[in-house]
């Protein structure tokens, strides 16, 4: 089996090299007679890369299913008692497998791109060459630096070392593929951007193509990041979902730059502006995806999630340097082509808001990058490492996030080119009053109503931030709602339909705009959930039979302890009854597992989620002195809003990808004119 896998990887590498070189030859010698045929063979070789990498991946998965411990990777990341879904997840559970998985996803994206080449054969041919170049790098890695089919020396082992227990959770079967689809997917917009730059692509069509790919990729990355957060919350047992770990930061950076691009690309589409900036944003998004991988694989930055330190970091460093050099070379060679002649008519315009929006996204990305690298910089400058943890990021990034919320509220109310102050006042007055009313309501209500009520911003800075965040979220919600209402009202008045039907029709007519608003609303819901962290409570207590503990409105009674022994792990857990207002409302079973193959112990929290709060219980083990079990209780308000918000964001993203429905409007046929005067281009 290992031989088949290794051969498939070598074949894939050969095909990639051919697709790359033949593609370049066909593009350079495009006037030769043989060029179209060579270009076609390059495309077909590119298509076949997918088949070869898929074969290699299947071999690895089948080897995991067959418990083939002659393959070192399978021995180190699987064991006989591992359940089938996790055996499938072995593919991306270790360094070698995850690089193979990366190659597979890149080959899949390349496969789709090469099949859709008729959209614009020449641009797609350039993009295909760029993707083949990136593919060569990853296939070189899995063939020569991190081969997943390496054989285990010595006698045949009866069982494997097992999968990392923290990865034995259902979300781990979905989270890495989503995250990798996001990371890898940014190669496609980069390939189109570099292709368009090299060929001096006329017009903005490439940006339309790139935008759709970027949105799909952005959706995957968003999904991957939040699945990771949910996994951390549900498995790691520290009661939080985001720890500003370098690996988490590595996923956030391309997301922030990709989000900036999705906004600024509208300036290029509508006004022909920011061509240079967008080109750099696309490149930066791709480059930061690779940089994140470099951080996690090189061991240069300490992280909870980092893979073992290995020489693979050098490969990534070289690839980063080469890709930067190639991009910079073509940028300076063809930058005249990106010159934009458009004029900014007013400071109060959608264009200005996008400029500041991009500034804030880039600043947030820079802060994350700076914080991630600062320990290394400190070590180089002053000889000792420092920690840059949550207090730094929270203090510096929260004001930036609040400013972004302000722009999210104001931006949609600004028109392209120029907005009169009167119309801004007219459209902004209602939402602002609504947001102020929400802030006053939150401060005036008694704290006994629940966590976000009775907010006293003068008592603590976190309460101040929380109040600001929730009030600005209200502002964004009101502006989004007013946009839907005003648009719906126009259609309702013209067609006589009901308001809801009109708003649905409005959304169908401009899915991108209103899908975007839904994404904004989803972000608002997520931020409300994050703002709830200001009211987190926790306590730790020894709990014997019948002992009680109280946290927030909940009383917990320890009913019993029990144990179980399964093939893969032994477990013990507490049976906790949850009471609220004197009534039993639930039973929770926080668990602690001992995985036999890896000889590791983990905790598995029990979580009771409601819209108001999450009751989060961790079974920490026994006190060696009293032999009584110790439980940790967290009361985390509004966490469910985060996960709901993600669903709304994804719904908005999918909606924005759907083509617009045409408005059923009768337009009188234009009269034919003999000499039509040329008209200025614009939106």
């Amino acid at each position: 089996m290992a031989a088949i896998g290794s051969f498939a990887l070598l074949l894939a590498l050969g095909l990639s090299v051919y697709s790359f070189l033949a593609g370049i030859f066909a593009l350079i010698r495009q006037h030769d007679e043989s060029s179209p045929r060579i270009g076609e063979t390059a495309r077909r070789a590119g298509v076949m890369i997918f088949a070869a990498v898929l074969l290699a991946s299947l071999v690895l998965v089948v080897s995991a299913f067959q418990d083939n411990f002659t393959i070192a990777y399978i021995f180190h990341h699987s064991n006989r008692a591992l359940s089938l879904p996790y055996k499938f997840a072995v593919l991306w559970s270790g360094q070698e497998g995850s690089l193979l998985f990366w190659s597979l996803l890149l080959a899949a994206y390349g496969f789709v791109l090469r099949l859709r080449y008729k959209t614009d054969p020449r641009l797609f041919a350039y993009a295909s060459v760029v993707i083949a170049g990136v593919q060569i790098f990853f296939l070189l890695l899995v063939n020569f630096a991190a081969n997943p089919f390496g054989l285990l020396g010595g006698p045949l082992r009866a069982d494997g070392s097992g999968l990392n227990p923290l990865l034995q959770y259902p979300e781990m079967v979905i989270h890495p593929p989503m995250l990798y689809l996001g990371y890898v997917g940014f190669t496609v917009p980069f390939a189109f951007a570099l292709g368009a730059l090299i060929m001096r692509y006329p017009g903005e069509k490439w940006i339309h193509i790139t935008r759709r790919w970027t949105m799909v990729t952005w959706g995957f990355l968003t999904c991957g990041i939040f699945l990771g957060a949910h996994w951390a919350y549900s498995v790691l047992g520290w009661g939080g979902y985001w720890g500003w770990d370098p690996v988490e930061n590595a996923s956030l950076m391309p997301w922030l730059v990709g989000t900036a691009f999705l906004h600024s690309v509208m300036m290029q589409e509508k006004r022909g502006m920011l061509k240079v900036w967008n080109m750099w944003l696309v490149f930066a998004t791709f480059w930061l995806s690779i940089l994140g991988t470099f951080l996690t694989r090189s061991g240069i930055i300490s992280s909870v999630h980092a893979f073992a330190q290995s020489s693979i970091g050098d490969w990534f460093a070289w690839f980063l340097a080469i890709s930067l050099a190639v991009f910079v070379y073509f940028f300076f060679k063809n930058k005249e082509h990106l010159r934009s002649e458009h004029k900014l008519e007013s400071l109060v315009s959608r264009e200005s808001s996008f400029l500041f929006n991009n500034l804030l996204f880039m600043l947030a990305c820079f802060i994350v990058l700076w914080g991630t690298w600062f320990p290394k910089i400190s070590e180089l400058v002053q000889g000792n490492k420092v920690t840059v943890g949550p207090p730094f990021y929270n203090r510096v990034n929260i004001p930036v996030a609040l400013l972004l919320l302000v722009l999210t509220a104001v931006g949609p109310l600004l028109a392209w080119r120029k907005t009169s102050l009167e119309s801004l006042k007219r459209n902004f007055f209602g939402p602002t009053m609504g947001a102020i009313a929400v802030a006053i309501f939150l401060m005036a209500t008694p704290p006994s109503w629940g966590s976000p009520f009775g907010l006293r911003p003068w008592q603590d800075m976190t309460y101040f931030y929380s109040l600001m965040a929730i009030s600005l979220c209200a502002l964004v919600t009101f502006t989004v709602a007013s946009e839907f209402y005003r648009g719906g009202k126009v259609i309702s008045n013209k067609t006589g339909q009901g308001m809801f039907a009109s708003m649905v029709q409005l959304t169908h007519r401009n899915t991108r705009r209103y899908g975007g608003y839904i994404v904004h609303f989803g972000v608002v819901v997520v931020i409300i959930g994050i703002a709830g962290a200001a009211f987190n409570q926790d306590k730790e207590q020894e709990m014997g039979y019948g002992d009680k503990a109280t946290i927030g409105p909940y009383t917990l009674v320890c009913r019993s302890y029990t144990q179980d022994d399964k093939a893969n792990y032994a477990s013990e857990w507490a049976i906790m009854e949850v009471y609220k207002n004197g009534h039993m409302i639930d039973t929770l079973t926080p668990e602690r597992r001992f995985y036999k193959a890896s000889q590791q112990t983990t905790t598995l929290p029990a979580v009771r989620s409601t819209l108001a709060d999450d009751l989060y219980l961790v079974y920490e083990g026994q006190n060696p002195d009293t032999q009584k079990p110790i439980l940790k209780f967290h009361l985390n308000p509004l966490v469910m809003w985060i996960w709901m918000g993600v669903w709304i964001i994804l719904a908005g993203t999918i909606l924005a990808l759907i083509p617009n429905a045409q408005a059923a409007v009768r337009v009188p046929a234009p009269r034919l004119v003999e000499h039509a005067a040329p008209v200025a281009t614009g939106d």
């Binding site: 004029k343 008519e345 420092v386 920690t387 510096v396 009169s420 126009v490 905790t603």
Partner: protein, 168 residues
């Protein structure tokens, strides 16, 4: 020679605003002297567990951690003794090294960690402002002969008409 600003000479609105700012600053300045439990939580969230788990001290929950329990006990003992926040942090740094602090200090080279983001913001704002000014001063794009683009009052009339037509 120092010039002392006479508050009475200021514009009444500005004076009132300044008074509000000073009052708010004073309120925030006197905040923070909390009870032992809130101090434990505050300082505990500014320290890292040193076992290698890369987690904040009060959030380290990894099974069988050899360090977090003793560190928490030390922290509680220091608070009970009445040590100030900075003294507690210094003691932890002396014992466990500078990586025990969850964020860089505001002294020496570490200060750059805090300053650079604001410098980046300032540079970004200057750059965006320069771009906006340059674009605003650009000449209008050339338009083909025979077409007169609407300007000034005429343009506003067209815009108002569009608003009326779309009711937006």
């Amino acid at each position: 020679m120092h010039k002392i600003v006479n508050m009475n000479k200021l514009n009444p609105t500005l004076r009132r605003t300044l008074q509000c700012v000073i009052l708010c600053s004073a309120v925030f300045a006197f905040l923070g002297a909390g009870d032992p439990a809130s101090r434990f939580s505050d300082i505990g969230h500014q320290l890292m567990c040193i076992c290698g788990c890369h987690q904040v001290l009060l959030e380290c929950n990894h099974v069988g951690c050899p360090d977090s329990d003793s560190m928490r006990n030390e922290l509680m003992a220091s608070i009970t003794r009445g040590d100030s926040d900075s003294l507690i942090q210094q003691a932890f740094v002396q014992k466990y090294g500078p990586t025990v602090l969850a964020a860089p200090t505001t002294t020496g080279f570490n200060r750059t960690a805090w300053i650079v983001p604001f410098v980046a913001l300032a540079l970004g704002l200057v750059s965006v402002s320069a771009v906006v000014r340059a674009w605003k001063n650009r000449p209008a794009p050339a338009i083909a002969d025979g077409i007169k683009p609407p300007r000034g009052v005429e343009l506003e009339q067209f815009r108002e008409q569009a608003r009326k037509d779309t009711e937006l």
